[in-house]
């Protein structure tokens, strides 16, 4: 795109790829020296963003004080300045808008098939394909500014979130979507209406000539002759192949499956056809730092113990085999591979539950088999064995206006004698009677994969900030119990009860080590009060249970 625009605006004899208008000047922060005489290295993280906004406003020639805006006719009278960005769209703070409205006429969003993007990303950044696939799936939205290098914050998001941000109806100016593949097929027909819409005037002949001069092979020749300043330090050439569909020769089946799993929703919106059938899987939030790939799980792990018949594990590598063709492999607390075939149901429970809790153990911490709810700023963890009613109780509390932070797997963080929950959005799994008791239509909710009888309900996304735990309530349905009662536990009894509710308790010692687990449980017991809430086993008394918890 830039090559075409530069060719359009440059005399044919002067067009070299190394002179491509990057769109950075006069908008880059380093231009603050000639424009304001200001050395941006002296600025703070937030001031440098504000400086950029001033440069953009000034560069668009619409930054003069008290300017009268006459509306669209005024905007379209002058040719547009094109500015290149890799950033996600966001409104920004007042005075630090990355795309100030008074200086922005429109946007052209150039997208490329993420499968080809991964193949291009890898050599450019000098990484392998798996790392490239991980990188374009990572939703980086909070990159810090770098005043020492005169750089503003440049959050890029993942391939999907970046695309969605620009296509959002919240963007206050027109956005013209251009697919790279369409440019290759017929750049003139693709760009002619876009350029007309943004006021970049040219005849079809001029555009055709520019497209010809910016042909990929010519850019390669130009780079070979005079270099290209934007080549990365990791690669000798920038213009590698330029074709579409090259991923078919470069990516393995598993890599294609992973990319399509990561991006299938947006790929579908843009019109990219899928080769695989992505699993029904709610993505994990980025802050958990656990990357999910699709592929084959290793058959064996060197030096692994087998704490249960379906789990083989070392301290850093764990394989869980659900069936002959369904397995999960978690390594180093950072990566999980999901091998799962032929299932139309929701497999999120494998990732949100098993993968997350195992990754937590591999990182040296543990989680409780518990839900966590916020009641009037108090953080209450509700633990219990399977079927004790954790999800039903927490959903009932949610129905009373309290906030569900996480269901079923509560990740713990220990810091200087305080224990925190690390919330994340996890689907709530309900049996038919629980769904009915909560007023949900069981038949309308997706069933869990693997032949399970529960359905999956997705609550609102909680805040990601760790929250200090105020108390733990252990639900204990009992025969012979007449009505729900609440009792605070003391001494070793607290330790014993909590030990039983460590998530994946069968494998926790094998991964974490006995000593570490004991230490963490001791820290938990010392830091947090524990209550036992007994209730009749065959009769719910849900309202009474909920009221007891609210009263804590």
């Amino acid at each position: 795109m830039r090559a075409i625009v530069t060719a359009l605006q440059t005399h044919p004899h002067l067009f070299e790829v190394d002179h491509l208008g990057s769109g950075a000047q006069p908008f880059g922060v380093s231009s603050s020296l000639p424009i304001f005489g200001l050395d941006a290295r002296w600025l703070s993280f937030s001031e440098i963003d504000r400086l950029r906004t001033s440069l953009i406003s000034r560069g668009s020639k619409r930054g003069a004080a008290d300017e009268i805006d006459d509306g669209e006719s005024d905007r379209r009278s002058s040719p547009p300045l094109l500015r290149k960005t890799h950033e996600i769209y966001r409104r920004g703070e007042p005075g630090a808008e990355p795309f100030p409205l008074e200086a922005t006429r429109a946007a052209i969003l150039v997208v490329r098939d993420p499968r080809d993007v991964a193949c291009s990303f890898a050599p450019f950044f000098g990484v392998d394909l798996d790392s490239a696939i991980d990188a374009i799936a990572t939703n980086r939205t909070s990159d810090l500014a770098n005043p020492a290098h005169c750089e503003t914050a440049q959050p890029r998001g993942s391939w999907s979130s970046h695309t969605l941000s620009w296509l959002s109806p919240d963007v206050p100016f027109p956005v013209h979507l251009v697919r790279y593949e369409d440019l290759l097929l017929d750049a003139v027909s693709t760009l002619e209406p876009v350029f007309a819409a943004i006021g970049l005037e040219c005849t079809r002949e001029q555009l055709s000539d520019a497209v010809e001069r910016a042909r990929f092979e010519r850019l390669q020749d130009s780079e070979a002759r005079s270099g290209f300043r934007e080549t990365s330090p990791s690669t000798a050439v920038f213009f590698r192949s330029g074709r579409s569909g090259g991923w078919r020769d470069e990516l393995s089946e598993d890599q294609v499956a992973t990319i399509e799993q990561d991006h299938h929703e947006v790929m579908g919106k843009i019109g990219y056809e899928l080769e695989t059938r992505p699993l029904r899987l709610t993505p994990l939030p980025d802050h958990l730092g656990l990357r999910i790939r699709i592929g084959k799980v290793p058959d064996a792990i060197d030096g692994a113990s087998q704490p249960t018949k379906w789990v083989a594990t070392t301290q850093t590598k764990t394989r869980v085999k659900f069936s002959a063709e369904r397995a999960l492999y978690v390594e180093d607390g950072r990566r999980a591979t999901l091998q799962w075939k032929d299932d139309l149901d929701d497999v999120s429970w494998v990732v949100q539950g098993w993968a997350v809790s195992i990754a937590t153990l591999q990182r040296g911490e543990f989680s409780l088999h518990a839900s966590t709810i916020e009641i009037d700023n108090k953080i209450i963890v509700i633990a219990g064995q399977s079927g004790a009613g954790k999800s039903t109780t927490s959903m009932a509390l949610r129905n009373r206006g309290h906030r569900l932070l996480v269901d079923d797997t509560t990740l713990l963080r220990f810091d200087s004698g305080v224990v925190y929950v690390a919330p994340y959005a996890r689907n709530v799994h309900l049996l038919p009677d629980s769904a009915q008791a909560l007023g949900l239509d069981f038949e309308e909710l997706p069933r869990l994969a693997g032949g399970r009888t529960k359905v999956s309900f997705t609550p609102d996304e909680p805040s990601q900030d760790p929250r200090r735990i105020d108390c733990i309530v252990v639900l204990d349905p009992r025969d012979g119990c007449m009505e729900p009662t609440l009792l605070e536990l003391h001494g070793m009894h607290r330790f014993k009860v909590l030990r039983e509710h460590v998530a994946r308790s069968a494998v926790s010692s094998s991964i974490l080590g006995q000593e570490r687990l004991f230490q963490l449980l001791t820290d938990l017991v010392d830091a947090v009060p524990v209550f036992e809430l007994t209730r009749p086993k065959n009769e719910w008394h849900l309202d009474r249970v909920v009221s007891l918890i609210e009263g804590l």
Partner: protein, 263 residues
């Protein structure tokens, strides 16, 4: 609809006294004789040490003075300004101008400083074009690098503001004008590239031309012919391109110093 530019950075040069305003930070005023006055906009308790607090008053004053007031003052005092870092080699009067991206130049400058070179001026280098030589003049503004880069060296450094990653590094400073003897263009090396190249022809002229600052930092009497003459004067000096490996810049620096020390 009236748009107010009150929250935008501005530099007004219509009057005798140039006024730069950075909303939320402060302003600088530079007189025709180069005198600088700084005014901080926000009120800060200088003893508030919380990490969420803005920088102390004196840090902001220093930032406005060195980062904004001084470059404007230098151009008002008649200097021609180059972008880069001027260094003086140990045991000689010879000065070199290093230019490139700030990330890349900082690696080279720290490497040379560790070998005894002294820093004359950082980021904005005042030049005086005499009949027979071009002199680089000193600046008192500290030498700035990214905190992470400074931590890889043995030099002492100080944060310049509370909410930034820029630090001032205590390297040896030269405080007298020196004749400029060469230009060094520096960037990160790409695969299969050589670390050192003596520039010639268009590349040499282009390298020299790009060091001269324009816009508000261009000499007030500059005509296109003056600008061309100055570019040619600089291009007449030896110009080299240095390509660094970020984590192992020693090879490139050896090549530079070897060339510099050769007769």
């Amino acid at each position: 609809m009236i748009r107010s530019a009150d929250n935008r950075v501005r530099l007004d040069r219509d009057e005798d006294v140039w006024v730069g305003r950075f909303p939320g930070l402060g302003s600088v005023r530079v007189s025709p004789d180069g005198q600088i006055d700084v005014e901080v906009e926000c009120e800060i308790e200088s003893d508030d040490l919380s990490s969420a607090a803005p920088s102390p008053l004196e840090d902001i004053e220093r930032a406005l003075h060195f980062g904004w007031g001084e470059p404007l003052s230098l151009v008002r005092r008649g200097f021609v300004l180059a972008e880069g870092v001027a260094l003086v080699s140990p045991g000689s009067d010879r000065c070199v101008l290093v230019h490139g991206e700030v990330h890349d130049t900082s690696i080279l400058v720290l490497g040379l400083a560790a070998r005894g070179w002294t820093v004359l001026a950082d980021r904005v280098v005042p030049l005086e074009f005499g009949e027979s030589s071009v002199e680089a003049h000193p600046r008192s503004a500290p030498f700035l690098v990214a905190k992470r880069r400074a931590e890889t060296t043995q030099f002492v450094s100080h944060t310049v503001r509370r909410e930034t990653n820029t630090v001032a590094v205590e390297v040896d400073r030269a405080n007298q004008p020196h004749a400029l003897s060469a230009l060094v263009s520096v960037r990160i090396r790409r695969p299969n590239e050589s670390v050192f190249e003596i520039l010639s022809g268009h590349d040499r002229f282009d390298s020299a031309r790009k060091t001269l600052l324009g816009g508000v930092l261009a000499p007030s009497t500059a005509s296109p012919e003056d600008s061309l003459r100055r570019s040619l004067r600089l291009a007449s000096m030896p110009c080299v391109a240095l390509r660094l490996d970020t984590y192992a810049p020693g090879t490139a620096i050896d090549a530079l110093t070897s060339w510099w020390d050769s007769p």
